[in-house]
Symmetry: C2
Subunit: 572 residues, 2 copies
């Protein structure tokens, strides 16, 4: 168990390389990788220092919350587990026969890394080295045939298998109460197999990471259009498995709309859904695997729709509104006006806008005075921002139409700067959590989907609940928009309990449960794009209805008769 350590914000070494993290040097070390607890949970590349904007964030929240006195360990000591792999030598031997010695690991560090995602509770557990559920081994299968053999072997021997892409889950989707095997596709399933300019599609293996795909496509003059905040450290297979939506989904669509074809391996065999733009051939069974979160099979290959990439044509827009309600009305009008669509399209609510202004010192001085005089009061005013991508004339057209509508609802055009700044740091929030937690700040997020007629209610009730806790930030944005509704994304931050991690965990769990239940009671869904993993899944049966949930269980049973695929996720 690592020693406690108090880290003042400014001096956090969150991103510095750890001495304990010896890098593997040869093939023999590949599966005996060692590393610190911190490396097992840390977001980002180990030796990359925090950028200025990250530092501002950490500074702001820890000061505002009077934090910086967290007792949480920084996790710098080396991972060493007391619990050894529960897989027998025979099972391990058999699995090594399937995948090769070099592709099965029982190393402590690898096992920890593969047993956690990035949910707040998980990060706390890893820092304190108190591990409850952990996989017994990690397999890096080399091809689809090996995956099928592993699944069939594990089915026969009742070994749990959890598919793993890059570990960015924030829904406890990777927690493995039954231990077993983590099936990591990142090592061998990272090839881009084909690209068709004519079909506007790309086929790649499921373990391809966002940047690799996007860089490849950009070179062809295309973009994948799917940019979740986890983009840098998430895989194409994970995007589909969690039914994700990227930051530009308003324009490019959700992952489930982009998947044209897919290969899935189940214990029963290989399912190949061929690339096709549309079909009326029975129910679309590939949709069963989109959102299945590893409970129904292992996605190994995806063909996705891509789009032409012309970033120089992109228009950047932002507007300030007097309040959330008028900004939402403008957003809805834009979506329903039949004028084309923006790609990124967001509103920060009053508090989120306020924090952004404060961090950039925009609330003071002349600007602040003028805005106040015009009726755009701090705490109420909301920033809307958008990009429009595509053909040059199209982006100009849609931008001008959006401006018209926004102005009608009292939107004050505030130029391209806020959007460009946001784009620069579009993936950065994820980097801020570790140093924030070093500083004693508890921060997490929850998101939901709502109809327009219910948006204000879910926003108000959930905010009210979160704000009922003293000294708690509740920053809300809308970031994925439809003709018929939108999502709501809640970021909540408060000071950690000045006590042992156990109390922090139980206090957080209580807060979290309350937020989820408030969202449900107000009519929001259990998730809009994170998936539900093991986080909101206990509410799944009630949300779906008993009959639909029974059907889902039957589908699970049909595919996974022994119940070995990510058992417990989706409450299955």
């Amino acid at each position: 168990m690592p020693a406690k350590k108090k880290l003042p914000v400014k001096k956090t070494k969150a991103s510095a390389p750890k001495k304990t993290a010896s890098k593997p040097k040869g093939k023999s070390e590949i599966n005996n990788k060692t590393g610190s607890w911190r490396e097992s949970f840390h977001w980002g590349v180990a030796n990359k220092p925090l950028d200025h904007s990250n530092e501002t964030h950490v500074d702001f929240f820890s000061k505002a919350l009077n934090a910086g006195h967290g007792e949480l360990d920084s996790g710098d000591s080396a991972v060493q587990l007391k619990v050894k792999s529960k897989l027998s030598a025979r099972h391990l031997g058999d699995l090594r026969k399937i995948c090769g010695d070099e592709n099965i690991s029982v190393g402590d560090f690898e096992r920890v890394k593969h047993s956690y995602g990035k949910y707040y509770e998980e990060l706390v557990e890893q820092r304190t080295g108190k591990i409850e559920h952990i996989v017994d081994a990690v397999a890096y299968p080399a091809d689809e045939d090996q995956i099928l053999k592993i699944l069939q072997y594990c089915q026969k021997n009742r070994i749990a298998v959890t598919p793993y892409g890059a570990g960015s889950s924030v829904t406890k989707a990777l927690r493995t109460p039954r231990g077993g095997l983590s099936l990591d596709l990142s090592r061998h399933f990272h090839r881009i197999l084909s690209f068709s300019k004519q079909n506007s599609s790309v086929t790649c293996e499921a373990g391809v990471l966002g940047p690799a795909l996007e860089e490849f496509l950009n070179r062809q003059g295309f973009t994948c259009g799917h940019f979740p905040q986890s983009f840098e450290f998430s895989t194409v297979g994970g995007w589909a498995a969690a039914r994700g939506a990227g930051q530009a989904s308003t324009g490019y669509g959700r992952m489930e709309e982009m998947v044209l074809g897919m290969t899935v391996i189940t214990p029963k065999g290989k399912l190949e859904f061929v690339e096709i733009p549309a079909s009326a051939v029975g129910p679309d069974l590939k949709r069963l695997f989109i959102g299945s979160e590893g409970t129904l099979g292992v996605i190994t290959r995806i063909t996705m729709r891509v789009s032409r990439y012309n970033p120089k044509n992109t228009r950047y827009l932002s507007f300030l509104f007097k309040d959330f309600e008028s900004s939402v009305a403008a957003m809805r009008n834009i979506m329903q006006a039949q004028i084309g669509k923006p790609h990124v399209f967001r509103i920060s609510d009053g508090e989120e806008t306020d924090v952004a202004f404060k961090m950039k010192n925009k609330d003071k001085g002349l600007t602040g005075k003028i805005l106040k005089a015009l009726g755009y009061a701090a705490g109420e005013r909301c920033l809307m921002y958008a990009t429009v991508e595509g053909n040059r004339d199209y982006t100009a057209f849609v931008a001008s139409q959006m401006k018209k509508i926004a102005r009608k609802s009292g939107g004050l055009p505030t130029g391209s700067y806020p959007v460009k700044k946001w784009l620069e740091q579009r993936y950065s929030s994820a980097y801020v959590r570790d140093p924030l937690m070093d500083a004693g700040v508890r921060i997490d997020t929850l998101e939901t989907a709502v109809r327009w007629d219910n948006l204000m209610r879910v926003w108000e009730n959930t905010r009210a609940y979160i704000k009922s806790f003293e000294n708690t930030f509740c920053l809300v944005h809308i970031s994925h928009v439809y003709e018929t509704g939108a999502n709501l994304y809640f970021v909540f931050a408060s000071r950690m309990t000045d006590s042992a991690a156990k109390k922090e965990l139980s206090e957080f769990a209580k807060l979290h449960r309350g937020i989820v239940e408030t969202i449900i009671e107000s009519g929001g869904t259990l998730s809009h794009h994170h998936g539900i993993g093991r986080l909101t899944s206990p509410y799944l049966e009630k949300a779906m209805g008993k009959e639909a949930f029974t059907l889902l269980k039957d589908i699970k049973k049909s595919i996974d008769v022994a119940g070995i695929l990510n058992p417990g996720a989706l409450n299955l």
Copy 2:
């Protein structure tokens, strides 16, 4: 068995009311409706005469094919079945207890009407009065509770149940080899339950017909955006059950994309999928019922996305291209140019364009000469036509961008007339079949979805196969377009065999099978928007793969343990 009758084209009384078709006059007669065979299959309102354009069609094809000597019966005699209902008095009594006497019919006419769709073979069978498969009774349940009771009763007693909307299937989806009950939703499930301007959505019962929904929405300033050719005589529930796509799907999307919420009754209970714009809550199970064609449950209620209706803003475009390939390239470029989208978007291939020109006498005279001189030769030249709907400036913008792209590919702008003419008669082909068959012309259609890189191959091979039959028209169009591909719609017409219907049926079946197999071998899907019913479903297992088909069978078993729901459809 009705008497034979030769009908010269001009004098066809196809649409005239039949003497045998006595209308029900009181409540007591409601389930004892009588009628002629012709009324049981006839498309359209009985006493509406053919319009001029229909007459031109019939004239053209029967002359060109030297037809007009068909020996097929016109079907004017009254429906009288030799086979009586196989449901026992006890079963009928029990069903009457559930629905009320007035909502169960065993009348011959009702039974025939509910056992057939509009596939060519079906029409031939009905004309000849040779009935192979027929339901034993028709139920018109009054509410969801009655449907549940019926399904549970039929499950217990192993009585087949086939949900019925308006009977426009062209895939033998309503044929009932096991007889049983037709569950007709048109009588009692025709209410529009709610409309939300804010959410841009409408909730209605599944038996609502297209025009009723659209008229309601138009009054609110909205449109449903879904216009299958069967629009006038098909229901909202049927649109979803068959995974359909309407004529304007390029702009408004497919039915499966429009469904926001849905209620389905299965023998196990009621599944309610609440209205939500998007979600990442496990797999989207409502997609299982979209395309299920009555095999998994009875869709009773649908919430669908609708759009603002501003027909005065609509732009109408058409272009003539020198050949199919260049028109397809232009279409693809338009879809991928990120300039917004047209709503209706079609290309008629060389032969279809030729027929249209000939019927309108556009191939002769000065126009014909000029076109030929410009390189737009008859038989090769292809007509592209489109509407752009929505905001006034948007439609102007998209239209101008489309023009640019079309011109680059050699498209000659031919104005709004061809589109407007097409829109005027957008539902009319369906009306032409009966008089064409009266005249001895065999006409049917098959459709498929293709990727762009495969479109020409499927078109060429399928056309070559159809044209290998002497004196056969093969008119092809593209009518549903995506960034990643499109559909291909084959209309084939030839002269009937001058012999008994039996030979005609076997010859047609051979031709049809050959077309389907050519499409499959060339890489097309079994359907793009018609569904597969019992028509192309024998190929389903091979098309899906054994593993996916096994999964589908397991899902069926989970929901419908006794296999009573539309048994045989989707090959289930």
